[in-house]
Symmetry: D2
Subunit: 80 residues, 4 copies
């Protein structure tokens, strides 16, 4: 689901409605703060899009981004 493009890990996720999308975002927010690695993400209604990169590594994709992508995928299992 994730693809690397322009030095970013990108993925889009779709939900039943806004409420589910934001519940998912809440779990991702909790996980991101726990990992101290935060996504660049956007939402419109039932869609959530990510672009992950590491600012401290000249905005390239690092292991931190790969790890966060895995956590996001795991959270998404509940909603798909």
């Amino acid at each position: 689901m994730w693809k690397e493009e322009d030095n970013k890990l990108k993925a889009d996720f779709t939900f039943s409605n806004f409420s589910e999308a934001f519940a998912f975002m809440t779990s991702v927010a909790i996980a991101a703060e726990k990992a101290n690695h935060h996504p660049n993400w956007s939402n419109v209604y039932n869609k959530v899009s990510f672009e992950l990169c590491t600012h401290d590594a000249s905005n390239t994709v690092t292991q931190k981004d790969e790890d966060l992508a895995k956590v996001i995928d795991k959270i998404y299992q509940r909603y798909k």
Copy 2:
């Protein structure tokens, strides 16, 4: 899952972990504010407990509580 007791609608819900419990709570919070009817609820780790009653109706169970209970059940479907 809901039982009426002491003029309250009560139910307990269990989740995989804290993050899922709080994601569920976020969807319930959105629904409660939308309905302008808010729960008396508590959480500890992966458990969320509700006691629903209507303050404006002398703290008895009303249709508003029945409706909120149904919405909560519907949100919970995603997590069980």
Copy 3:
């Protein structure tokens, strides 16, 4: 703080940290669902950006967007 550009109402908000930015987002999510009008928004760490338009009105700015912008401003008062 809001400017109209490309048929969208746009604004950026800055917070002390990610946790505050996401708390603000949670209040905005609750308000947006209540109004049944949802933002196109993005977040990275302590910044939240909005682009508001109305899909049902050929993606132009309508009163719904003006109203949501006012609600967002009011929520932001707490955080600035």
Copy 4:
């Protein structure tokens, strides 16, 4: 604001409305998961109540609870 009673650290917090109370709760949820120490808490409309204790220490108050109480107080500064 916190008092120790029945081997628990207890405190109550009041907000302008439900939306602010739940925004505060979201920041507390993020902090609790980060600390891997979760509160026993309840909410009704604009009130949030905590009872903190440590399950792994025979349900007594430990340094983990003192630390979480401080974090909660710090988050609350924004809302009072």
